[in-house]
Protein backbone atom coordinates (compact mmCIF):
# COMPACT_ATOMS: atom_id res chain seq x y z
CA UNK A 1 0.00 0.00 0.00
CA UNK A 2 1.22 3.42 -0.87
CA UNK A 3 0.41 5.09 2.44
CA UNK A 4 3.71 6.76 2.95
CA UNK A 5 3.55 8.62 -0.30
CA UNK A 6 2.47 11.45 1.90
CA UNK A 7 5.94 12.07 3.16
CA UNK A 8 7.06 13.26 -0.21
CA UNK A 9 5.62 16.76 -0.46
CA UNK A 10 6.27 17.08 3.23
CA UNK A 11 9.95 16.54 2.71
CA UNK A 12 9.93 18.62 -0.43
CA UNK A 13 8.44 21.55 1.39
CA UNK A 14 10.95 21.40 4.10
CA UNK A 15 13.86 21.43 1.75
CA UNK A 16 12.23 24.30 -0.04
CA UNK A 17 11.66 26.10 3.21
CA UNK A 18 15.28 26.28 4.03
CA UNK A 19 17.96 27.61 1.70
CA UNK A 20 17.97 25.28 -1.24
CA UNK A 21 21.47 23.93 -0.92
CA UNK A 22 22.85 22.78 2.42
CA UNK A 23 24.52 25.98 3.52
CA UNK A 24 28.28 26.08 3.37
CA UNK A 25 30.11 27.99 6.08
CA UNK A 26 30.11 31.80 6.17
CA UNK A 27 31.81 34.02 3.61
CA UNK A 28 35.59 34.11 4.19
CA UNK A 29 36.89 30.69 3.22
CA UNK A 30 40.23 29.42 4.39
CA UNK A 31 42.01 26.73 2.37
CA UNK A 32 41.09 24.26 5.10
CA UNK A 33 37.42 25.08 4.74
CA UNK A 34 37.64 24.78 0.99
CA UNK A 35 39.22 21.39 1.41
CA UNK A 36 36.42 20.24 3.73
CA UNK A 37 33.89 21.45 1.22
CA UNK A 38 35.60 19.63 -1.56
CA UNK A 39 35.75 16.48 0.44
CA UNK A 40 32.08 16.80 1.34
CA UNK A 41 31.23 17.24 -2.29
CA UNK A 42 33.16 14.11 -3.16
CA UNK A 43 31.41 12.12 -0.44
CA UNK A 44 28.07 13.40 -1.63
CA UNK A 45 28.77 12.33 -5.18
CA UNK A 46 30.01 8.98 -3.98
CA UNK A 47 26.97 8.06 -1.94
CA UNK A 48 24.43 9.50 -4.37
CA UNK A 49 25.88 7.78 -7.43
CA UNK A 50 24.58 4.19 -7.02
CA UNK A 51 21.01 5.30 -6.42
CA UNK A 52 21.16 8.04 -9.04
CA UNK A 53 22.58 5.65 -11.62
CA UNK A 54 19.90 3.13 -10.81
CA UNK A 55 17.15 5.71 -11.29
CA UNK A 56 18.82 6.90 -14.47
CA UNK A 57 18.94 3.44 -16.02
CA UNK A 58 15.73 1.94 -14.71
CA UNK A 59 13.57 5.04 -14.62
CA UNK A 60 14.79 7.97 -16.68
CA UNK A 61 15.77 5.92 -19.75
CA UNK A 62 12.41 4.07 -19.74
CA UNK A 63 10.65 7.40 -19.22
CA UNK A 64 12.54 8.76 -22.22
CA UNK A 65 11.45 5.76 -24.28
CA UNK A 66 7.79 6.22 -23.41
CA UNK A 67 8.04 9.93 -24.18
CA UNK A 68 9.40 8.97 -27.59
CA UNK A 69 6.43 6.63 -28.00
CA UNK A 70 4.03 9.50 -27.36
CA UNK A 71 5.12 11.00 -30.69
CA UNK A 72 4.88 7.72 -32.59
CA UNK A 73 2.13 6.26 -34.79
CA UNK A 74 -0.19 3.35 -34.09
CA UNK A 75 -0.31 0.76 -36.87
CA UNK A 76 -3.59 -0.92 -37.81
CA UNK A 77 -2.71 -3.93 -35.65
CA UNK A 78 -1.95 -1.68 -32.73
CA UNK A 79 1.79 -1.90 -32.86
CA UNK A 80 3.70 1.32 -32.21
CA UNK A 81 5.56 2.40 -35.31
CA UNK A 82 8.60 4.49 -34.58
CA UNK A 83 8.75 6.02 -38.02
CA UNK A 84 6.86 9.19 -38.83
CA UNK A 85 6.85 11.34 -35.70
CA UNK A 86 3.76 13.40 -35.05
CA UNK A 87 1.69 15.21 -32.45
CA UNK A 88 -1.54 13.36 -33.24
CA UNK A 89 -1.90 11.83 -29.80
CA UNK A 90 -1.48 15.16 -28.10
CA UNK A 91 -4.04 16.71 -30.43
CA UNK A 92 -6.50 13.96 -29.57
CA UNK A 93 -6.32 14.85 -25.89
CA UNK A 94 -8.00 18.19 -26.64
CA UNK A 95 -11.08 16.17 -27.63
CA UNK A 96 -14.21 17.00 -25.60
CA UNK A 97 -14.72 13.40 -24.58
CA UNK A 98 -11.24 13.12 -23.10
CA UNK A 99 -11.43 16.52 -21.43
CA UNK A 100 -14.73 15.43 -19.91
CA UNK A 101 -13.09 12.30 -18.55
CA UNK A 102 -10.30 14.38 -17.03
CA UNK A 103 -12.77 16.83 -15.46
CA UNK A 104 -14.85 14.01 -13.95
CA UNK A 105 -11.78 12.30 -12.54
CA UNK A 106 -10.58 15.56 -11.02
CA UNK A 107 -14.01 16.19 -9.45
CA UNK A 108 -14.16 12.74 -7.80
CA UNK A 109 -10.56 13.10 -6.62
CA UNK A 110 -11.44 16.50 -5.17
CA UNK A 111 -14.45 15.11 -3.28
CA UNK A 112 -12.33 12.27 -1.95
CA UNK A 113 -9.66 14.70 -0.79
CA UNK A 114 -12.12 16.97 1.01
CA UNK A 115 -13.83 14.05 2.78
CA UNK A 116 -10.47 12.61 3.83
CA UNK A 117 -9.42 15.97 5.24
CA UNK A 118 -12.64 16.39 7.22
CA UNK A 119 -12.36 12.94 8.78
CA UNK A 120 -8.59 12.74 9.12
CA UNK A 121 -7.84 16.10 10.76
CA UNK A 122 -9.67 15.46 14.02
CA UNK A 123 -8.42 11.88 13.94
CA UNK A 124 -4.79 12.94 13.59
CA UNK A 125 -5.37 15.58 16.25
CA UNK A 126 -6.64 12.89 18.58
CA UNK A 127 -3.65 10.62 17.86
CA UNK A 128 -1.12 13.41 18.29
CA UNK A 129 -2.51 14.37 21.69
CA UNK A 130 -2.27 10.87 23.18
CA UNK A 131 0.64 9.88 25.44
CA UNK A 132 3.69 8.91 23.30
CA UNK A 133 3.49 5.19 23.92
CA UNK A 134 -0.19 4.90 23.11
CA UNK A 135 0.45 7.07 20.06
CA UNK A 136 2.89 4.55 18.59
CA UNK A 137 0.45 1.71 19.12
CA UNK A 138 -2.46 3.57 17.61
CA UNK A 139 -0.34 4.41 14.59
CA UNK A 140 0.43 0.72 14.07
CA UNK A 141 -3.30 0.05 14.28
CA UNK A 142 -3.80 2.56 11.47
CA UNK A 143 -1.18 0.83 9.35
CA UNK A 144 -2.23 -2.80 9.71
CA UNK A 145 -5.15 -2.77 7.24
CA UNK A 146 -2.68 -1.73 4.57
CA UNK A 147 -0.75 -4.93 4.95
CA UNK A 148 -3.42 -6.97 3.25
CA UNK A 149 -3.91 -7.30 -0.43
CA UNK A 150 -5.60 -4.16 -1.71
CA UNK A 151 -7.76 -5.96 -4.21
CA UNK A 152 -9.12 -8.40 -1.67
CA UNK A 153 -9.98 -5.45 0.59
CA UNK A 154 -11.90 -3.71 -2.19
CA UNK A 155 -13.89 -6.90 -2.71
CA UNK A 156 -14.67 -7.01 1.00
CA UNK A 157 -16.09 -3.48 0.75
CA UNK A 158 -18.08 -4.51 -2.27
CA UNK A 159 -19.63 -7.29 -0.29
CA UNK A 160 -20.44 -4.90 2.58
CA UNK A 161 -22.20 -2.46 0.27
CA UNK A 162 -24.02 -5.05 -1.85
CA UNK A 163 -27.80 -4.80 -2.00
CA UNK A 164 -27.99 -8.11 -0.11
CA UNK A 165 -25.01 -7.26 2.07
CA UNK A 166 -24.79 -6.37 5.75
CA UNK A 167 -25.01 -2.59 5.27
CA UNK A 168 -28.27 -2.95 3.41
CA UNK A 169 -29.61 -5.47 5.94
CA UNK A 170 -28.77 -3.04 8.73
CA UNK A 171 -30.56 -0.17 7.06
CA UNK A 172 -33.56 -2.37 6.44
CA UNK A 173 -33.64 -3.50 10.06
CA UNK A 174 -33.55 0.11 11.13
CA UNK A 175 -36.49 0.85 8.90
CA UNK A 176 -34.77 2.80 6.16
CA UNK A 177 -35.45 0.15 3.52
CA UNK A 178 -32.87 -1.41 1.23
CA UNK A 179 -30.31 0.92 -0.18
CA UNK A 180 -28.34 0.88 -3.35
CA UNK A 181 -25.05 2.64 -3.26
CA UNK A 182 -22.91 -0.03 -4.88
CA UNK A 183 -22.09 0.92 -8.50
CA UNK A 184 -22.67 4.61 -7.91
CA UNK A 185 -20.16 7.47 -7.65
CA UNK A 186 -20.88 7.51 -3.91
CA UNK A 187 -19.43 4.02 -3.62
CA UNK A 188 -16.37 5.09 -5.62
CA UNK A 189 -15.71 8.05 -3.32
CA UNK A 190 -16.28 5.86 -0.26
CA UNK A 191 -13.85 3.24 -1.57
CA UNK A 192 -11.21 5.83 -2.37
CA UNK A 193 -11.60 7.49 1.02
CA UNK A 194 -11.04 4.05 2.51
CA UNK A 195 -8.01 3.40 0.35
CA UNK A 196 -6.31 6.76 0.77
CA UNK A 197 -7.35 7.95 4.22
CA UNK A 198 -4.01 6.93 5.68
CA UNK A 199 -2.18 9.21 3.24
CA UNK A 200 -4.05 12.06 4.84
CA UNK A 201 -3.72 10.88 8.42
CA UNK A 202 0.03 10.36 8.42
CA UNK A 203 1.26 13.80 7.26
CA UNK A 204 -1.32 15.53 9.46
CA UNK A 205 -0.16 13.43 12.37
CA UNK A 206 3.48 14.28 11.72
CA UNK A 207 2.65 18.01 11.49
CA UNK A 208 0.49 18.02 14.62
CA UNK A 209 2.94 15.95 16.59
CA UNK A 210 5.80 18.28 15.79
CA UNK A 211 3.78 21.43 16.43
CA UNK A 212 4.79 23.68 19.26
CA UNK A 213 1.73 23.56 21.52
CA UNK A 214 3.06 26.50 23.54
CA UNK A 215 1.96 28.71 20.68
CA UNK A 216 -1.62 27.51 21.07
CA UNK A 217 -1.44 28.18 24.78
CA UNK A 218 -0.07 31.63 24.19
CA UNK A 219 -2.85 32.33 21.72
CA UNK A 220 -5.42 31.20 24.21
CA UNK A 221 -3.97 33.47 26.84
CA UNK A 222 -4.60 36.32 24.45
CA UNK A 223 -7.75 35.39 22.55
CA UNK A 224 -9.48 33.02 24.98
CA UNK A 225 -11.68 31.31 22.37
CA UNK A 226 -10.60 27.72 21.65
CA UNK A 227 -12.10 27.77 18.16
CA UNK A 228 -10.28 30.96 17.29
CA UNK A 229 -6.99 29.58 18.56
CA UNK A 230 -7.55 26.49 16.46
CA UNK A 231 -8.28 28.37 13.25
CA UNK A 232 -5.72 31.11 13.77
CA UNK A 233 -2.84 29.07 15.19
CA UNK A 234 -3.18 25.29 14.90
CA UNK A 235 -4.38 25.19 11.30
CA UNK A 236 -1.78 27.63 9.94
CA UNK A 237 0.97 25.81 11.84
CA UNK A 238 -0.04 22.47 10.33
CA UNK A 239 -0.55 23.89 6.88
CA UNK A 240 2.34 21.87 5.45
CA UNK A 241 0.72 18.67 6.68
CA UNK A 242 -2.65 19.67 5.23
CA UNK A 243 -1.18 20.46 1.83
CA UNK A 244 0.93 17.29 1.83
CA UNK A 245 -2.06 15.15 2.75
CA UNK A 246 -4.25 16.75 0.09
CA UNK A 247 -1.65 16.23 -2.63
CA UNK A 248 -1.10 12.65 -1.54
CA UNK A 249 -4.79 11.82 -1.59
CA UNK A 250 -5.58 13.74 -4.75
CA UNK A 251 -2.78 12.25 -6.89
CA UNK A 252 -3.64 8.56 -6.46
CA UNK A 253 -7.42 9.21 -6.46
CA UNK A 254 -7.09 10.99 -9.76
CA UNK A 255 -5.34 8.03 -11.41
CA UNK A 256 -7.13 5.24 -9.57
CA UNK A 257 -8.92 2.65 -11.67
CA UNK A 258 -9.39 -0.53 -9.69
CA UNK A 259 -11.77 1.09 -7.17
CA UNK A 260 -13.94 2.87 -9.78
CA UNK A 261 -14.28 -0.33 -11.78
CA UNK A 262 -15.09 -2.65 -8.92
CA UNK A 263 -17.21 -0.34 -6.75
CA UNK A 264 -18.42 2.11 -9.38
CA UNK A 265 -19.50 -0.36 -12.02
CA UNK A 266 -17.33 1.38 -14.60
CA UNK A 267 -20.34 3.30 -15.86
CA UNK A 268 -18.47 6.55 -16.07
CA UNK A 269 -15.01 6.37 -17.48
CA UNK A 270 -12.21 7.87 -15.42
CA UNK A 271 -8.75 8.86 -16.54
CA UNK A 272 -6.95 5.97 -14.81
CA UNK A 273 -8.98 3.35 -16.68
CA UNK A 274 -8.74 5.34 -19.87
CA UNK A 275 -4.94 5.33 -19.79
CA UNK A 276 -4.84 1.64 -18.84
CA UNK A 277 -7.24 0.88 -21.68
CA UNK A 278 -4.94 2.56 -24.21
CA UNK A 279 -2.09 0.29 -23.19
CA UNK A 280 -4.28 -2.82 -23.15
CA UNK A 281 -7.58 -3.35 -24.96
CA UNK A 282 -7.28 -0.41 -27.38
CA UNK A 283 -3.57 -0.95 -27.99
CA UNK A 284 -3.06 2.71 -28.66
CA UNK A 285 0.28 3.17 -26.95
CA UNK A 286 1.03 6.61 -28.38
CA UNK A 287 -2.19 7.99 -26.84
CA UNK A 288 -1.54 6.24 -23.53
CA UNK A 289 2.01 7.54 -23.54
CA UNK A 290 1.06 11.13 -24.30
CA UNK A 291 -1.61 11.13 -21.57
CA UNK A 292 0.97 9.78 -19.13
CA UNK A 293 3.48 12.45 -20.12
CA UNK A 294 0.84 15.13 -19.55
CA UNK A 295 -0.07 13.69 -16.14
CA UNK A 296 3.61 13.71 -15.12
CA UNK A 297 4.06 17.29 -16.29
CA UNK A 298 0.90 18.38 -14.45
CA UNK A 299 2.07 16.70 -11.26
CA UNK A 300 5.50 18.27 -11.53
CA UNK A 301 3.96 21.71 -11.96
CA UNK A 302 1.64 21.11 -9.00
CA UNK A 303 4.50 19.98 -6.79
CA UNK A 304 6.66 22.93 -7.83
CA UNK A 305 3.88 25.47 -7.20
CA UNK A 306 3.14 23.85 -3.89
CA UNK A 307 6.81 23.98 -2.90
CA UNK A 308 7.04 27.65 -3.71
CA UNK A 309 3.80 28.51 -1.93
CA UNK A 310 4.64 26.66 1.22
CA UNK A 311 8.14 28.08 1.23
CA UNK A 312 6.64 31.58 1.10
CA UNK A 313 3.98 30.79 3.63
CA UNK A 314 6.41 29.35 6.11
CA UNK A 315 8.74 32.24 5.73
CA UNK A 316 6.00 34.82 6.33
CA UNK A 317 4.45 32.60 9.00
CA UNK A 318 7.73 32.52 10.87
CA UNK A 319 7.83 36.31 10.83
CA UNK A 320 4.35 36.66 12.36
CA UNK A 321 3.96 36.79 16.15
Amino acid sequence: MPWLRRVKPEAAQQTAARPDEPAPAAAPQTPAELDTQRRARRTGTLIATPGALYLLIFFMVPLGLITVYSFATRTSTGRTSLSGWNLDSYERIADDVILGIIARSAWLAFLTTVLCLIVAYPFAYYLATRPPRLRARLLVLVMIPFWTNGLVRVFAIRFLLGSNGPASALSEAMGFGTFRILFTPTAVVLGMVYGFLTFMVLPLYVALERMDWRLVEAARDLYASGAKAFWRVTVPLTRSGIVAGCVLVFVPSFGSYVVPEILGGAKTLLIGSYVARQFQAARNWPLGASLSVLIIVAMLVAVAVNQRNSANAERTGAGAP
Binding site: R5, Q14, P122, I144, L160, Y194
Partner: protein, 278 residues
Protein backbone atom coordinates in the same frame (compact mmCIF):
# COMPACT_ATOMS: atom_id res chain seq x y z
CA UNK B 1 -1.83 21.78 29.27
CA UNK B 2 -3.82 24.96 29.10
CA UNK B 3 -6.48 25.48 31.70
CA UNK B 4 -8.35 28.08 29.73
CA UNK B 5 -11.65 27.68 27.88
CA UNK B 6 -14.91 26.54 29.43
CA UNK B 7 -14.61 23.06 30.82
CA UNK B 8 -17.91 21.92 29.30
CA UNK B 9 -17.01 22.90 25.74
CA UNK B 10 -13.65 21.28 26.13
CA UNK B 11 -15.10 18.03 27.39
CA UNK B 12 -17.61 17.83 24.55
CA UNK B 13 -14.89 18.59 22.02
CA UNK B 14 -12.86 15.80 23.52
CA UNK B 15 -15.79 13.43 23.31
CA UNK B 16 -16.31 14.32 19.68
CA UNK B 17 -12.65 13.69 18.94
CA UNK B 18 -12.82 10.34 20.62
CA UNK B 19 -16.01 9.36 18.78
CA UNK B 20 -14.44 10.32 15.49
CA UNK B 21 -11.37 8.20 16.31
CA UNK B 22 -13.55 5.18 17.02
CA UNK B 23 -15.42 5.79 13.83
CA UNK B 24 -12.21 5.88 11.80
CA UNK B 25 -10.89 2.69 13.33
CA UNK B 26 -14.20 0.95 12.68
CA UNK B 27 -14.17 2.20 9.11
CA UNK B 28 -10.64 0.87 8.58
CA UNK B 29 -11.26 -2.49 10.21
CA UNK B 30 -14.72 -3.60 9.12
CA UNK B 31 -13.57 -4.76 5.65
CA UNK B 32 -10.62 -6.56 7.24
CA UNK B 33 -12.94 -8.39 9.60
CA UNK B 34 -15.16 -9.37 6.68
CA UNK B 35 -12.14 -10.68 4.82
CA UNK B 36 -10.98 -12.78 7.76
CA UNK B 37 -14.47 -14.11 8.51
CA UNK B 38 -15.05 -15.08 4.90
CA UNK B 39 -11.79 -16.95 4.76
CA UNK B 40 -13.53 -19.49 7.01
CA UNK B 41 -16.57 -19.66 4.74
CA UNK B 42 -17.37 -23.14 3.50
CA UNK B 43 -18.89 -21.82 0.25
CA UNK B 44 -17.21 -21.82 -3.15
CA UNK B 45 -18.30 -18.25 -3.78
CA UNK B 46 -16.82 -15.61 -1.62
CA UNK B 47 -20.02 -13.64 -1.12
CA UNK B 48 -22.33 -16.49 -0.21
CA UNK B 49 -22.13 -17.71 3.37
CA UNK B 50 -22.42 -21.48 3.81
CA UNK B 51 -21.04 -22.22 7.24
CA UNK B 52 -17.74 -22.28 9.07
CA UNK B 53 -14.83 -24.34 7.78
CA UNK B 54 -11.05 -24.16 7.63
CA UNK B 55 -11.05 -25.97 4.28
CA UNK B 56 -9.81 -22.98 2.26
CA UNK B 57 -6.64 -22.78 4.29
CA UNK B 58 -5.92 -26.36 3.33
CA UNK B 59 -6.79 -25.72 -0.31
CA UNK B 60 -4.73 -22.53 -0.48
CA UNK B 61 -1.67 -24.20 1.00
CA UNK B 62 -2.17 -27.22 -1.25
CA UNK B 63 -2.44 -25.11 -4.42
CA UNK B 64 1.03 -25.28 -5.97
CA UNK B 65 0.32 -22.21 -8.12
CA UNK B 66 -0.49 -20.11 -5.06
CA UNK B 67 2.54 -21.41 -3.23
CA UNK B 68 4.85 -20.76 -6.16
CA UNK B 69 3.38 -17.26 -6.58
CA UNK B 70 3.89 -16.63 -2.90
CA UNK B 71 7.50 -17.75 -3.24
CA UNK B 72 8.12 -15.41 -6.17
CA UNK B 73 6.45 -12.56 -4.27
CA UNK B 74 8.60 -13.07 -1.22
CA UNK B 75 11.84 -13.31 -3.22
CA UNK B 76 11.00 -10.14 -5.12
CA UNK B 77 9.78 -8.27 -2.03
CA UNK B 78 12.73 -9.14 0.16
CA UNK B 79 15.45 -8.56 -2.43
CA UNK B 80 13.93 -5.32 -3.70
CA UNK B 81 13.44 -4.09 -0.15
CA UNK B 82 17.06 -4.71 0.78
CA UNK B 83 18.52 -3.07 -2.31
CA UNK B 84 16.14 -0.13 -2.37
CA UNK B 85 16.60 0.52 1.33
CA UNK B 86 20.37 0.79 0.93
CA UNK B 87 20.25 2.88 -2.25
CA UNK B 88 17.32 5.00 -1.12
CA UNK B 89 18.91 5.80 2.22
CA UNK B 90 22.13 6.80 0.47
CA UNK B 91 20.23 9.07 -1.91
CA UNK B 92 18.35 10.66 1.00
CA UNK B 93 21.60 11.27 2.90
CA UNK B 94 23.32 12.74 -0.13
CA UNK B 95 20.40 15.04 -0.92
CA UNK B 96 20.05 16.19 2.65
CA UNK B 97 23.70 16.62 3.57
CA UNK B 98 25.81 17.26 0.56
CA UNK B 99 26.18 19.59 -2.27
CA UNK B 100 27.31 17.97 -5.49
CA UNK B 101 26.86 18.24 -9.20
CA UNK B 102 23.52 16.99 -10.37
CA UNK B 103 21.94 17.37 -6.96
CA UNK B 104 19.02 19.45 -8.22
CA UNK B 105 18.35 17.00 -11.05
CA UNK B 106 18.38 14.08 -8.64
CA UNK B 107 16.18 15.99 -6.22
CA UNK B 108 13.61 16.46 -8.97
CA UNK B 109 13.66 12.98 -10.45
CA UNK B 110 13.56 11.08 -7.20
CA UNK B 111 9.87 11.97 -6.78
CA UNK B 112 8.80 11.04 -10.29
CA UNK B 113 8.35 7.28 -9.75
CA UNK B 114 5.85 8.18 -7.01
CA UNK B 115 3.56 10.32 -9.17
CA UNK B 116 3.70 8.36 -12.43
CA UNK B 117 0.66 6.12 -13.11
CA UNK B 118 1.41 2.44 -12.46
CA UNK B 119 0.39 1.34 -15.90
CA UNK B 120 2.73 3.83 -17.54
CA UNK B 121 5.63 2.71 -15.42
CA UNK B 122 4.77 -0.90 -16.25
CA UNK B 123 4.69 -0.33 -19.99
CA UNK B 124 7.82 1.79 -20.07
CA UNK B 125 9.78 -0.79 -18.12
CA UNK B 126 8.59 -3.53 -20.46
CA UNK B 127 9.67 -1.48 -23.47
CA UNK B 128 12.96 -0.71 -21.76
CA UNK B 129 13.75 -4.34 -20.96
CA UNK B 130 12.82 -5.35 -24.48
CA UNK B 131 15.22 -2.82 -25.99
CA UNK B 132 17.95 -3.59 -23.49
CA UNK B 133 17.67 -7.31 -24.18
CA UNK B 134 17.89 -6.72 -27.90
CA UNK B 135 21.03 -4.70 -27.33
CA UNK B 136 22.55 -7.38 -25.13
CA UNK B 137 21.43 -10.04 -27.57
CA UNK B 138 23.78 -8.61 -30.21
CA UNK B 139 26.66 -9.37 -27.85
CA UNK B 140 25.58 -12.94 -27.32
CA UNK B 141 23.55 -13.77 -24.24
CA UNK B 142 19.83 -14.15 -24.79
CA UNK B 143 17.85 -12.86 -21.85
CA UNK B 144 14.23 -13.23 -20.86
CA UNK B 145 11.94 -11.46 -18.43
CA UNK B 146 11.66 -13.20 -15.11
CA UNK B 147 11.91 -12.83 -11.37
CA UNK B 148 15.01 -10.65 -11.80
CA UNK B 149 13.29 -8.07 -13.99
CA UNK B 150 10.33 -7.88 -11.59
CA UNK B 151 12.74 -7.27 -8.71
CA UNK B 152 14.68 -4.66 -10.72
CA UNK B 153 11.41 -2.85 -11.47
CA UNK B 154 10.29 -2.89 -7.86
CA UNK B 155 13.63 -1.45 -6.81
CA UNK B 156 13.08 1.37 -9.30
CA UNK B 157 9.95 2.62 -7.54
CA UNK B 158 10.96 1.61 -4.02
CA UNK B 159 14.18 3.66 -4.03
CA UNK B 160 12.05 6.77 -4.28
CA UNK B 161 9.72 5.83 -1.46
CA UNK B 162 12.58 4.89 0.85
CA UNK B 163 14.49 8.07 -0.03
CA UNK B 164 11.46 10.21 0.71
CA UNK B 165 10.72 8.56 4.06
CA UNK B 166 14.34 8.63 5.25
CA UNK B 167 14.66 12.23 4.19
CA UNK B 168 11.64 13.24 6.23
CA UNK B 169 13.42 11.77 9.22
CA UNK B 170 16.67 13.55 8.40
CA UNK B 171 14.74 16.81 8.38
CA UNK B 172 13.93 16.43 12.05
CA UNK B 173 17.51 15.58 12.82
CA UNK B 174 19.59 17.62 15.24
CA UNK B 175 22.80 18.24 13.38
CA UNK B 176 24.73 19.53 16.37
CA UNK B 177 24.95 15.93 17.54
CA UNK B 178 26.93 15.00 14.44
CA UNK B 179 29.14 18.03 14.78
CA UNK B 180 29.83 17.18 18.40
CA UNK B 181 30.68 13.63 17.46
CA UNK B 182 32.95 14.78 14.69
CA UNK B 183 34.79 17.02 17.12
CA UNK B 184 35.42 14.02 19.30
CA UNK B 185 35.86 11.07 16.92
CA UNK B 186 36.89 12.78 13.72
CA UNK B 187 36.26 9.97 11.20
CA UNK B 188 33.13 10.56 9.12
CA UNK B 189 32.38 6.84 8.99
CA UNK B 190 32.54 6.60 12.76
CA UNK B 191 30.17 9.54 13.08
CA UNK B 192 27.81 7.99 10.61
CA UNK B 193 27.80 4.58 12.20
CA UNK B 194 27.66 5.66 15.82
CA UNK B 195 25.49 8.77 15.61
CA UNK B 196 23.66 9.28 12.34
CA UNK B 197 22.62 5.71 11.65
CA UNK B 198 21.09 5.00 15.07
CA UNK B 199 19.20 8.30 14.94
CA UNK B 200 17.70 7.76 11.51
CA UNK B 201 17.15 4.02 12.04
CA UNK B 202 13.39 4.42 12.66
CA UNK B 203 13.14 6.29 9.35
CA UNK B 204 15.05 3.55 7.55
CA UNK B 205 12.88 0.90 9.17
CA UNK B 206 9.74 2.76 8.12
CA UNK B 207 11.08 3.09 4.59
CA UNK B 208 11.92 -0.60 4.42
CA UNK B 209 8.51 -1.61 5.74
CA UNK B 210 6.88 0.63 3.18
CA UNK B 211 8.99 -0.83 0.38
CA UNK B 212 8.04 -4.32 1.50
CA UNK B 213 4.34 -3.46 1.59
CA UNK B 214 4.41 -1.77 -1.81
CA UNK B 215 6.26 -4.66 -3.38
CA UNK B 216 3.86 -7.22 -1.93
CA UNK B 217 0.86 -5.27 -3.21
CA UNK B 218 1.93 -4.31 -6.72
CA UNK B 219 -0.06 -5.87 -9.55
CA UNK B 220 0.38 -3.87 -12.70
CA UNK B 221 4.14 -3.41 -12.84
CA UNK B 222 4.73 -7.03 -11.84
CA UNK B 223 2.34 -8.32 -14.50
CA UNK B 224 4.14 -6.50 -17.27
CA UNK B 225 7.73 -7.11 -16.24
CA UNK B 226 7.30 -10.77 -15.29
CA UNK B 227 8.33 -13.57 -17.57
CA UNK B 228 7.96 -17.35 -17.56
CA UNK B 229 7.46 -18.74 -14.08
CA UNK B 230 7.51 -15.32 -12.41
CA UNK B 231 3.86 -14.80 -11.47
CA UNK B 232 3.65 -12.93 -8.17
CA UNK B 233 0.84 -13.45 -5.69
CA UNK B 234 -1.03 -10.19 -6.42
CA UNK B 235 -0.84 -10.94 -10.15
CA UNK B 236 -2.22 -14.39 -9.51
CA UNK B 237 -4.98 -12.93 -7.35
CA UNK B 238 -5.85 -10.35 -9.98
CA UNK B 239 -6.03 -12.83 -12.80
CA UNK B 240 -8.11 -15.38 -10.90
CA UNK B 241 -10.60 -12.75 -9.82
CA UNK B 242 -11.82 -12.91 -13.42
CA UNK B 243 -13.25 -16.27 -12.50
CA UNK B 244 -14.67 -14.92 -9.24
CA UNK B 245 -13.05 -14.43 -5.86
CA UNK B 246 -12.68 -17.73 -4.08
CA UNK B 247 -12.34 -17.89 -0.29
CA UNK B 248 -8.91 -19.35 -1.07
CA UNK B 249 -7.76 -15.79 -1.76
CA UNK B 250 -9.24 -14.59 1.51
CA UNK B 251 -7.43 -17.40 3.31
CA UNK B 252 -4.10 -16.44 1.78
CA UNK B 253 -4.74 -12.75 2.52
CA UNK B 254 -5.53 -13.60 6.12
CA UNK B 255 -2.33 -15.62 6.42
CA UNK B 256 -0.34 -12.70 5.00
CA UNK B 257 -2.12 -10.32 7.35
CA UNK B 258 -1.21 -12.53 10.29
CA UNK B 259 2.39 -12.73 9.11
CA UNK B 260 2.69 -8.96 8.71
CA UNK B 261 1.09 -8.24 12.08
CA UNK B 262 3.61 -10.62 13.64
CA UNK B 263 6.39 -8.80 11.82
CA UNK B 264 5.23 -5.36 12.95
CA UNK B 265 4.70 -6.45 16.54
CA UNK B 266 8.11 -8.11 16.59
CA UNK B 267 9.83 -5.04 15.20
CA UNK B 268 8.04 -2.82 17.71
CA UNK B 269 9.16 -5.09 20.52
CA UNK B 270 12.74 -4.94 19.25
CA UNK B 271 12.65 -1.17 18.99
CA UNK B 272 11.23 -0.53 22.42
CA UNK B 273 14.44 -0.43 24.53
CA UNK B 274 15.94 2.17 22.23
CA UNK B 275 12.86 4.28 21.70
CA UNK B 276 12.35 4.92 25.40
CA UNK B 277 15.32 7.27 25.31
CA UNK B 278 14.06 10.37 23.55
Amino acid sequence: MSSLGTAGAKASARRLLKANAWFVFAFLYVPIVVLVVFSFNDSERVNVWQGLSPRWYGEALGNTQIISALRVSLIVAISSTIVSTVLGTAVALALDRYRFKGRRALDGTVYLPIVIPDITMAVMLLVFFAEAFKLIDTFGPRLTLGVTTVALSHIAFNISFVAVVVRARLDQFDRTLEEAARDLYATPWGTFRRVTLPLIAPGIAAGALLALALSLDDVVISAFTAGPGATTLPVYVFSTIRQGVTPELNAISTLMLAASITLVVASLALQRPRSTTP
